[in-house]
Symmetry: C2
Subunit: 294 residues, 2 copies
C-alpha cells in the first residue's frame, strides 16, 4: 500500500483559488444581450490577496493569471493562454472579487471574454485566446531574438535588498524571487541607468513555471520607468500577453524595455525566456508615466 | 457671399460608413447580462467592401478602423483610439456586417467593447480605450526608437509593380499607396531577404492621416513572413494597436518586423511614423505562419 498522496497547493494556487458562483456545475447557455450568439457564461468568486498589492492596487500580472485560471475553468480542454489582452479599467484592491467568463468561440483556439469586478464595479476586462499548447504547436523554432545576457543569479540583486519604503509600497515583492541585473538596478540606490531597460531572473517560491504563471511573469518587474529615473506607480492602461511555448522548469529570464515615452504614456515590452533558451512569452503594455513625486 | 462648401467624403469614409440600427438616436441603457454594470449598447450596420479583401477575407486593419469608427460614434467626446485590442475570431467577407459597441466606462479614458458579426456569426471582438488626444497628451516626447531610414518615395516599389497573382489575391492593394523599400521587396521577385522586416511609405489616396486611419496603417503591409520566403496568407489571431500621437499630414513611414517565428505562430510588430518624425502608432499582432504552398 502506498501512502495516501495529499496534494498541497502552492502558495500561488491558493492565491488564485476560485469559487464557482453559478453555472459551473450546470453550465447553462445564456443569451448574451449584446450579440446574436448564445454563449456559455460563468461566474466565479475570488479573494484578491493583499500580498499581491503594489502602490495601493493589486498587481496587473496577478490579475492576468487570475483571469487565466477562470478561463481555463471555462474551457478545460484548452488549458493554455495563447493571447490575453486586458484593459485595466480601475485599480483592484485586496478583498472579494467576481470573475465572469463568456465563451465566444470553441475550437482549436477558443475565444473567451473575461471581466473582474469588485462590489459591482468593473476593474478589468479581457479577451483571451486559449489552446492546448502541448498538441497545438508545431516543432519549428526559428526565433531570431536573443535572450538577455545576465550575470549568474547569485550576482544579481534580490528584492530583499530594495529600500524599505519600496518594500512597504510593494508587498508583492515577497511573493516571488526576482533578481535584477546590477547593471539596471542602480535606480534602487538613486542611480538609474537612463536606458529604459530592466533585466533579471524570476522564480516562484514553490512552483515551476507553467503557462498561467507566465502571465504573472509578464508584469512582475518594477516599471521600466524606474530605470529612467522616474520612480512611482505607472498604472497599466492595457496589456497584451502572448504565450509562445510550454516553459521548461527552472529560472525564467526577463527583459523589459521601453522605446517610446511620450505624451504622458509609455509602452513596456516584456520578454520571458525559459531555462531551455526559448522565448516563451512576449507582452506589451501601455502605461501612464508616473507623475513627478513631491 | 461665399460659395457653399460641399463636404465630399473620402473613399475611406465611404467604405467605413455605418448605419445606426438602433440605440443611436435614443441611447438606451441596457442591463448587460454578464456584468453588474449598466452599459450603453449600440448597434450599427456596415457594408464590408470587397475592395478591402485580401486572401479571401477582409483586411484586419480595415476592420480595426471600422471598429474605431463605431466606437467614436459611441463616445463622440473621446474621438481618438488610444488602444484597440482585437481578436480575429473568423474571416470576414465582403457584404453586410453588424458592429455592436458597449460603453463599459466613461471618463478621460473611455473603455468600449466592440464586436463585428456577419449573419449572426462573430467575426471579431475587441476592447478599445478612447480619449481626446488633442487635450489628453502631455507635450513631452522622449522617444528613443529611431524611425526607419527609407529611400525617397519615388525610389521605392509601388504595389502596382507586384506580380499579377498577388494583386488578384489582394484587391486592397489598390486602396492605398504603399511603397516598399527595395531592400525588403525582393520577395516580389522571388528573392526574399530572409531578415523578417518590411519598411515602406504609406499614403491614403484622398485623405491625410488621422487617428482612425492609423489603425488601418497598423495592418496595411503584406505579412512580414513574405520577407522570410514564406508566401501565403498569415491569418491574424490577435492584434493590439496603440495610437501615441495625432499624426502630421503627409506620408507615413512603416516598419514591420518579427523576431519570434516558432510553433506555427509569429509576432509582427508594426511602427507607424509620421512626416514630423513622431512614432504615432505601435502595433503587435500574433498570426499563424502561412502553410507551405503546393
Amino acid at each position: 500500500m502506498t501512502a495516501e498522496h495529499v496534494e498541497v497547493p502552492s502558495e500561488l494556487d491558493r492565491d488564485l483559488a476560485l469559487t464557482a458562483l453559478d453555472g459551473l456545475d450546470h453550465p447553462g447557455a445564456e443569451l448574451d444581450a449584446t450579440a446574436a450568439a448564445v454563449v456559455d457564461v460563468r461566474r466565479f468568486g475570488a479573494e484578491l490577496p493583499g500580498g499581491w498589492s503594489v502602490g495601493g492596487g493589486i498587481n496587473g500580472g496577478f490579475l492576468l493569471a487570475l483571469v487565466g485560471r477562470a478561463v481555463r475553468r471555462a474551457v478545460p480542454d484548452r488549458p493554455d493562454p495563447v493571447t490575453v489582452a486586458a484593459t485595466y479599467v480601475g485599480a483592484s484592491v485586496a478583498g472579494a472579487a467576481e470573475v465572469t467568463t463568456r465563451v465566444l468561440r470553441r475550437g482549436g483556439l477558443a475565444t473567451v471574454a473575461a471581466e473582474v469586478s469588485q462590489g459591482g464595479s468593473l476593474k478589468l476586462t479581457a479577451l483571451a485566446t486559449f489552446a492546448d499548447l502541448a498538441t497545438n504547436l508545431t516543432d519549428e523554432v526559428a526565433t531570431t531574438a536573443e535572450p538577455p545576457v545576465l550575470p549568474p543569479v547569485e550576482e544579481c540583486v534580490g528584492l530583499a535588498q530594495a529600500p524599505d519604503e519600496v518594500r512597504r509600497r510593494a508587498p508583492l515583492m515577497d511573493r516571488f524571487d526576482l533578481r535584477l541585473d546590477p547593471a539596471c538596478a542602480g535606480w534602487a540606490a538613486g542611480r538609474p541607468s537612463g536606458v529604459g531597460e530592466l533585466r533579471g531572473w524570476l522564480r516562484l517560491p514553490d512552483r515551476e513555471p507553467d503557462t498561467l504563471s507566465l502571465l504573472l511573469a509578464c508584469d512582475a518587474m518594477p516599471p521600466v520607468t524606474f530605470d529612467l529615473g522616474r520612480p512611482g506607480w505607472a498604472p497599466t492602461v492595457q496589456l497584451t500577453a502572448h504565450v509562445r511555448a510550454l516553459p521548461a522548469p527552472g529560472w525564467l529570464r526577463l527583459r523589459q524595455l521601453t522605446r517610446n515615452v511620450a505624451g504622458g504614456f509609455f509602452e513596456e515590452d516584456c520578454e520571458v525566456w525559459d531555462s531551455a533558451g526559448r522565448l516563451v512569452a512576449q507582452a506589451r503594455q501601455l502605461a501612464r508615466v508616473p507623475r513627478p513625486q513631491a
